[in-house]
């Protein structure tokens, strides 16, 4: 990729709503991304590998559980800080943000919220420092949008569980040290279980052939009579609501992240349109190009306002799942449309890895599907406003 010339856009002076510390956190994340990740991201994307060497840096800028209290190794920051970090990471690549949101919201969050003190002390500090990487196993080959139907289950044997089943599409799985796995207990109740790499019968094969999110590593989790100590069950919440509340936290981060991807595409398209001359003029002087650019910044600004408000509600612990669904759905769809338009503005150059737009566009095809598909989030809003569920 050519040099990262990204410049953030703040059409509605949203910065004035942030604290100085928010801005310092965001700008530090932005500077780190520019220095450490932008120069290598295209290469890793093409090789379909996650750049493991950046994990320490990612931890140091607060990429792992920044809102987790300091006593467990986190930074005790608010939700807007978390959102801003996600925005800056996804500005570079959705895969980078995915690694960070899985660790933060899908691994650290459930251990923090549903774990006991021993589990929190054992895992959270190492997850916060990046010494340990986690993954989250909910989706199964036959249960995606309908995770409640999962087959993965365990029986009990003295102090141990015997875990069987398989999870699929699991981000970070191939190199994760631990997996937070959702499985049914002998009474058919969904429980969270911490499975550690090295336990007999536990395998994590990598999935190959993705056209999207290539810089994030995705794999399966296979459990073949895995003996897990009972003390690894997350004791403080069970049922489908437990994994869904983790998803709320991750989806909230995605709502911010998508804005980052959209801003990068808009910024690149704006710069390119002023430099590219056709018919003797910069293409930015044509009305059709201006329409695209004007609509992009309008949609980005609307998403920023919606998401900032969601952040305030989240800080006050008042954000509902339905509000988070609406923001995730709106922002990812917005970002995908911005990426497609930006790609067109770049003409043939738009398909090249010299620009980030096509990579964002391909990445966002995963983001619009994972953590609840675009349509499932619509049905969540539908249920919320009518009181009638239309899932089945």
């Amino acid at each position: 990729m050519s040099k990262d010339q990204y410049q953030a856009h703040d059409y509605f002076l949203m910065d004035e709503m942030l604290t100085d510390e928010h801005k310092l956190i965001r700008d530090s994340a932005r500077a780190w991304v520019k220095k450490e990740v932008s120069p290598i991201i295209e290469d890793y994307y093409e090789r379909a590998e996650f750049p493991n060497q950046i994990l320490d840096g990612l931890a140091s800028i607060g990429g792992f559980g920044p809102y987790i209290p300091e006593e467990y190794g986190g930074a005790g920051l608010d939700q807007i800080s978390y959102g801003l970090i996600m925005q800056e990471l996804e500005r570079c690549d959705s895969g980078l943000r995915s690694t960070s949101s899985v660790q933060s919201s899908l691994v650290m969050y459930p251990i923090w919220k549903f774990g006991n003190e021993t589990q929190k002390k054992k895992y959270l500090p190492k997850l916060a420092s990046g010494e340990m990487i986690g993954c989250f196993g909910l989706t199964e080959p036959d249960f995606g949008s309908n995770p409640g139907g999962m087959i993965t289950n365990f029986t009990e044997d003295g102090d141990h569980l015997i875990l069987n089943g398989a999870k699929m599409w699991i981000s970070n799985a191939p190199f994760a040290d631990i997996a937070v796995v959702w499985a049914k207990d002998p009474n058919n109740r969904i429980k969270g279980v911490i499975v550690e790499r090295g336990m007999e019968g536990f395998e994590t094969p990598e999935m190959h052939g993705k056209h999207s999110l290539r810089a994030s590593s995705t794999g399966e989790l296979i459990f073949n009579n895995v003996r897990v100590p009972k003390e690894n069950i997350l004791p403080n919440k069970d049922g489908l609501g437990a994994p869904l509340s983790c998803l709320d936290s991750a989806r909230y981060g995605i709502a911010w992240g998508a804005i980052g991807a959209a801003m990068d595409c808009y910024d690149s398209a704006l710069r390119y349109s002023k430099e590219r001359i056709q018919f003797g003029k910069p293409i930015a002087s044509f009305q059709l190009i201006q329409k695209k650019l004007a609509e992009m910044i309008t949609e980005i600004s609307k998403a920023q306002l919606l998401t900032f408000r969601l952040g305030q509600l989240k800080n006050e612990d008042r954000a509902t799942s339905a509000q988070i669904s609406m923001a995730k759905r709106n922002n990812v769809d917005m970002a995908l449309k911005v990426a497609r338009e930006a790609r067109q503005i770049h003409g043939a150059m738009g398909i090249m890895n010299e620009y980030s737009v096509m990579r964002h566009m391909a990445n966002l095809e995963s983001v619009i599907t994972y953590e609840g598909t675009h349509d499932i989030h619509l049905l969540i809003t539908g249920l919320d406003i009518t009181g009638i569920q239309a899932f089945n």
Binding site: D15, E21, K23, S28, A31, K35, S60, G62, P66, A75
Partner: protein, 246 residues
């Protein structure tokens, strides 16, 4: 070792530059500020490296209003121990130097560091003026700084080479590119900065010695002009009358 690093804010390089008050004042409207890169990347970071290997403290000093606090917090997040802000508008270079010198006089610093210049007004005067006022030797535009005991060894880029300077502490120096590498604040640093002391001090009496009469923007960039190689007279004519370089 006690080190004082002078830190100032400058407009982000992408800011739109406008003037007010009859073109005598910089228009701050909508401008985002950053820490002057020479202060941050070179002076501050090298100061931190020195105390990390030799022990000691790094204090930052800034002349400005509370609008400067975000840049000061950033310096603290990068690792400075504490900060001083002299509560005054930084007017001319002498005023600024006087404030720093008056504050530094009783503090026994081993090294007082400035950036080689600020990237907005490009004055490059403050370091030299401080050194005169506190009566300490001054090394300008240093690209390297090492300290052993009470002796500092510095390098400066000179025409087609490097000058190596030895000097007994205490000294004042201005830091140029190469002295250290940028450090990005990390989360621990940002959290620690919350509780680091930022002392606000009233200004010392000093009149402005200079006033700005006028700022002008450079002429807008014009496109390239192509001249037929056969037409040298036109080229000479344009170089003489239009760009006025010959």
């Amino acid at each position: 070792m006690k080190i004082l690093v002078c830190i100032s804010k400058v407009p982000d390089t992408t800011s739109k530059i406008n003037f007010t008050d009859n073109d005598t004042k910089f228009d701050e409207n909508g401008v985002q500020y950053i820490v002057n890169p020479y202060d941050e990347w070179y002076a501050l970071v090298r100061a931190l490296e020195l105390i990390e290997s030799n022990g000691g403290t790094v204090t930052t000093i800034t002349i400005g209003s509370s609008k400067d606090d975000p840049t000061i917090r950033k310096a603290l997040a990068i690792g400075a121990n504490d900060a001083v802000r002299i509560d005054a508008e930084p007017t001319d270079s002498f005023f600024v130097s006087k404030q720093i010198a008056e504050y530094a006089k009783n503090e026994n610093y081993d090294i007082i560091m400035t950036g080689k210049e600020t990237i907005d007004y490009n004055g490059a005067q403050v370091g030299a003026m401080i050194s005169e006022l506190v009566d300490m030797p001054f090394v300008s535009l240093a690209t390297k700084l090492d300290v052993e005991g009470t002796k500092a060894t510095l390098e400066r880029d000179v025409q087609a080479g490097v000058e190596v300077v030895e000097v007994e502490l205490p000294i004042v120096l201005s830091a140029a590119k190469g002295m250290a590498e940028q450090r990005i604040p990390n989360m621990r640093g940002i959290m620690a900065a919350r509780s680091k002391p930022l002392k606000v001090v009233p200004p010392f009496e000093q009149k402005e010695l200079t006033t700005v009469v006028k700022f002008e923007l450079p002429n807008p960039k014009t496109g390239c002009k192509y001249i037929d190689p056969e037409n040298m007279d036109e080229l000479v004519e344009l170089l003489h009358n239009e760009s006025k370089v010959i």
